[in-house]
């Protein structure tokens, strides 16, 4: 192919950015510029940013909602004691929500890749079918995983149902996997070597400086030090509390019990303390609570 026909490159906002914090700042700047509200992360352990009330609850009403936020996520099963350069029990998602979904949502997402320094004339970006489902939240959506030279760096989803209810209007969700994106941008094969930013004495701080010790200890905790018996009873308590709180009209506290119950279930799972049939029952128990919260939220006068 003749090179001359290639389009002139779009100017890169930040072509040499390769620090984690800068990537987050760029995304904040980009998406607030697209009319999204920047909001804080939620302060409970959760498996994915979908559990954030800004996602789960806001997908359930009919009001417009544009928001962007960083959310630390935990998947106890994925812990590798800080020894696997690609996997950890904690990772960071950057979440963008837009409802109703703008007609050019995909174009905006592509422009956000430009904004963090991805040269789309060099990098192969593809949208590959990936339908999302969260059995615990009674939720599903249709969409894509986004490949950058074959690496999945983001999920792009149109929510169809949340808590068992149809999403109307539909909410669009983009979830960036920040570690992978930055590994791509910096050409690194080890997430612990990623540059986070510069701190005291202008010293370069790496991802591993911040999180490797935590990762090793949390892996030991998740796999070895938790007490499955007390986790199981904690799950039961959370379940009872959630129902009781809903009965008192305390919707947000009830939803917090659901978020926690989901994490406790993940901790149990990491101990292989859940058999196949029990597993299904736990998921159904959480889903029942999530659906009850969703129903209460929708009935609430606004």
């Amino acid at each position: 192919m003749e090179r001359g026909i290639l389009c002139t490159p779009v100017p890169q906002v930040n072509a040499v950015m390769a620090a984690f914090q800068d990537m987050v700042f760029s995304l904040n700047q980009f998406w607030t510029g697209q009319g999204c509200l920047w909001i804080p992360s939620y302060d409970l352990p959760m498996g994915a940013a979908t559990f954030h009330p800004a996602t789960f609850l806001r997908a359930l009403d009919d009001q417009p909602w544009n928001a962007a936020f960083l959310q630390p996520c935990r998947r106890p099963q994925d812990g590798r004691y800080g020894e696997n350069p690609n996997r950890g029990q904690q990772y960071f998602q950057y979440q963008v929500l837009m409802k109703p979904v703008p007609e050019n949502f995909q174009d905006r997402f592509l422009a956000s890749l430009d904004a963090i320094g991805i040269d789309r004339h060099a990098a192969d970006v593809r949208f590959v079918e990936d339908n999302w489902e969260s059995p615990t939240l009674g939720a599903w959506g249709l969409g894509w995983e986004v490949w950058l030279d074959g690496m999945e760096v983001a999920q792009f989803t149109f929510f169809q149902q949340m808590g068992g209810f149809d999403c109307e209007p539909v909410m669009g969700e983009i979830t960036y996997g920040l570690e992978r994106l930055l590994m791509y941008l910096s050409g690194s094969g080890d997430m612990y070597e990623l540059v986070w930013g510069r701190g005291a004495a202008n010293r370069e701080i790496r991802y591993g400086d911040l999180f490797r010790a935590n990762e090793a200890e949390m892996s030991r905790f998740n796999f070895e030090a938790t007490d499955p018996g007390s986790l199981a009873s904690r799950f039961a308590t959370l379940e009872t509390q959630a129902t009781a709180l809903l009965g008192q009209g305390l919707l947000h506290p009830a939803y917090e019990q659901v978020i926690e119950a989901s994490h406790v279930f993940n901790l149990l799972d990491a101990r292989h303390a859940v058999s196949v049939s029990e597993r299904q029952r736990y998921i159904l128990r959480i889903r029942k609570l999530a659906q009850a919260v969703a129903a209460a939220y929708r009935e609430r006068p606004r």
Binding site: M1, D119, R120, A123, D124, W144, D149, G150, C167, G187
Partner: protein
């Protein structure tokens, strides 16, 4: 309006979308084209004769081009027929509810109706109509008719579709057909390649569609046309050669199909991985490269996998090395994970894992995998000798076949079930006879997949399949229409192919001896389930249903391969015990069918069938009846022919020589024809009648020992 001022022309419709699911893509394009063609034909915009249309697709569009679509449809009169006059009016001429209801359903007054052939009718003349008045609605209808398992909603007030629709291109000749479809105004522009041609592409005429898109860096795929796949494959081959001239890509039809639905401007990029990963078995490397990353493995001239791959991307990158490095960076950790699983799995003997199977559900109504394992062992123990395999080896294979389901490798790559177990068992000292069977146990996985090559492999595959089918038939989970969530049709198709393997070109296996009856294989499987699952259902009935279900798959395959339905049914009517026997009869029938005597014989058998059906209910002849009259010569000749054939045919049949038997039976044609010509069969004389019908019955029974010729087409007496 005259049709001359507005001639017929080619129609082009394109739906621009966000990326469509690759697995659905060619099918969606085909359905969309067919649905629009059907709508246009039904609405009389095109002739209903030969279907001439072209379907196109890329990940971001579906398109169809149809020649000779009318521009103006002349006026027509539609007639709606209502109740008869007697139903419509009472004796004094007052309208009854039937008349009033008919008028109401049409939204007109009773006075608007007319009478034709003693009926109320409603005639409405439609004026001539222009294409643009109908086409947008027809297009929207066609899109809604495409069957889609999960529709996406993306905007309020817009109907759902498989993925969001962004543009509608609608041309009739050079003319834009204006209108609204899915809330979008139609236009004459298509999307070009997102990077190489971000500006919209204007299409001047439907015939320029491919070339205009080609110039915008978009290659169109067409369902059922391999051109795009061939082009991509040649890029892959070239890329491999440029990367390492001594390596070549390993073909994978599924991967090629998938990548061809993921790109608009395919470019191949080769890359490598460290050699240490080559200690993984080939199927594992293939699962990582093809299954997870959709790239093609490379092999050296000895056909051993080489540490490299070729991927297909959607971009002529300004920095190919970076793309290569990116792909390598994704593949490396995946191979590392696979190697970790592979080594970790082997820290434990495979047989040890049997006890973990009790913790894994097979189906919540059918129990856990530990129970399934016990059933498989019993089934294999029952049938190993009849199949001529070493019982000890068979039992070892059956006891191990499910164990790899608990390994990390299979949990990550379910398609490696069987392969993984075979590898681990071999490394841990199991005999190759057993491990080869483990490797083959899930074959054939698809309609194209090869069959197990060893008898033990076939036995194990049959065990897995009959157990699966028996279980789901016991709990009444039979496939229904499109729904077959447990893959029962595929399982039965595998059974049909394994047992009918002599006819299967994919098989290299030697013919085994006579096999046990098919229903017995199912009965053993059914009997393996506990009484709680049976809940009192008769095993014989279910086994017969499973026999029919398997025969359905055999029939479908036989027809796909160009076989004739009537020949199949002529044999199926006899319900042969084994599929080998079924095939032998069918082959005999098909081989001898072109012979002229055969045709006459088949025609006569139809006539015999009618006569025997019409036969009066005769009381048995009393014992003191006078001796029958002497035989007519033609009767004597038929009797002699039958007597001569009966024992010969029995001998041939006992040896399974259907062709020889049927060939012998062709000799019946002449005496039967003479018999029909010379004697009256349904004569008034009861004794004569009984004697003649009995002769015909003997002839029919003899032929029916091979097939029911009455079911053959083309034998009608005119």
């Amino acid at each position: 309006m005259s049709a001359d001022a507005c001639p017929s022309d080619t129609l082009l419709a394109e739906i621009g979308t966000l990326e469509l699911p690759a697995r659905l893509l060619p099918g969606l394009a085909r359905c969309f084209a067919d649905c629009l063609w059907g709508g246009l034909a039904e609405d009389r915009w095109i002739g209903t004769g030969e279907k001439t249309l072209e379907a196109f697709y890329t990940p971001r569009r579906l398109a169809v081009r149809i020649p000779a679509v009318a521009c103006v449809r002349s006026g027509l009169t539609r007639i709606q027929r209502g109740p008869t006059l007697a139903q419509a009016f009472d004796s004094v001429g007052q309208p009854r509810p039937a008349a009033l209801g008919f008028a109401r359903s049409l939204g007109v007054d009773l006075a608007a109706l007319t009478i034709e052939s003693d009926r109320l009718v409603y005639q409405v003349s439609e004026p001539p109509i222009r294409l643009e008045e109908r086409l947008p609605a027809l297009l929207e209808e066609a899109l809604r008719k495409i069957p889609i398992d999960r529709q996406m909603r993306w905007a309020s007030g817009t109907p759902p579709f498989v993925r969001p629709i962004r543009s509608i291109l609608l041309l009739h000749g050079t003319r834009l057909v204006p209108g609204q479809v899915y809330g979008l105004a139609t236009g004459r522009v298509a999307q070009g390649h997102p990077i190489h041609h971000p500006a919209p592409v204007t299409i001047a005429h439907p015939d320029e569609y491919e070339s205009a898109l080609r110039n915008a860096y978009v290659l169109l795929g067409r369902p059922e046309d391999p051109a795009l796949r061939e082009r991509i494959w040649s890029l892959v081959v070239e890329s491999a050669r440029n990367w390492r001239s001594e390596w070549h890509p390993v073909p994978s039809g599924a991967t090629l199909q998938e990548v061809s639905a993921l790109v608009e401007w395919p470019q191949a990029v080769a890359g490598g991985f460290p050699e240490r990963f080559l200690k993984l078995p080939d199927p594992v490397i293939r699962a990582v490269l093809c299954g997870q990353q959709r790239v093609f493995p490379l092999a050296d001239h000895t056909r051993h996998l080489a540490p490299g791959f070729v991927g297909v991307v959607n971009l002529a990158s300004t920095d190919v090395n970076r793309v290569r490095a990116g792909m390598e960076r994704v593949i490396l950790p995946r191979l590392a994970d696979a190697l970790f699983f592979f080594e970790e799995d082997q820290l434990r003997p495979l047989a040890d894992r049997a006890r973990d199977l009790a913790g894994i559900l097979f189906d919540k109504r059918l129990g856990h995998l530990g129970e399934r394992r016990e059933r498989l062992i019993r089934w294999v123990n029952h049938w190993s000798r009849p199949f001529g395999v070493d019982p000890a080896l068979a039992e070892e294979a059956a006891s191990l076949v499910l164990c790899d389901l608990t390994t990390s490798l299979v949990r990550e790559y379910p398609e490696l079930a069987g392969e993984a177990g075979a590898y681990y068992a071999l490394a841990q000292g199991s005999p190759t006879g057993a491990t080869q069977a483990l490797r083959e146990a899930y074959r054939p996985a698809t309609a194209e997949d090869g069959l197990p090559e060893t008898t033990l492999g076939r036995l194990l595959s049959l065990a897995l399949r009959t157990d699966l089918l028996a279980g789901y038939f016991l709990i009444d989970e039979k496939p229904n229409g499109q729904r077959d969530p447990f893959g029962l049709r595929r399982a039965a198709q595998g059974i049909a192919r394994i047992l009918d393997h002599r006819s299967d070109p994919a098989s290299h296996a030697q013919a085994p001896g006579p096999l046990p009856p098919l229903v017995d294989l199912f009965k053993t499987a059914l009997a393996g389930y506990p009484a709680s699952v049976h809940s009192g259902q008769p095993i014989d009935r279910l086994a017969a249903e499973l026999y029919d279900f398997t025969l359905d798959r055999l029939r479908a395959r036989y027809l796909e391969q160009g076989g004739k339905l009537d020949a199949f049914e002529a044999v199926a009517a006899l319900r042969p015990e084994t599929l080998g026997d079924f095939r032998a009869r069918l082959d005999a029938l098909v081989t001898l069918r072109p012979r002229p005597e055969f045709l006459t014989l088949a025609q006569m058998m139809k006539r015999v069938g009618h006569l025997l059906k019409k036969r009066p209910v005769d009381t048995p002849v009393p014992a003191d009846t006078p001796p029958p009259l002497t035989l007519e010569p033609v009767e004597a000749a038929l009797e002699a022919a039958l007597a001569a054939l009966e024992s010969r045919v029995q001998t041939a049949l006992a040896a399974g020589h259907y062709r020889a038997a049927l060939e012998d039976l062709l000799a019946l044609e002449a005496p039967l024809a003479a018999f029909f010509d010379s004697v009256l069969i349904l004569t008034e004389d009861r004794l004569l009648r009984q004697r003649r019908l009995a002769l015909l019955e003997r002839a029919r029974d003899l032929l029916r020992s091979i097939a029911d010729l009455e079911r053959l087409q083309g034998g009608e007496i005119t």
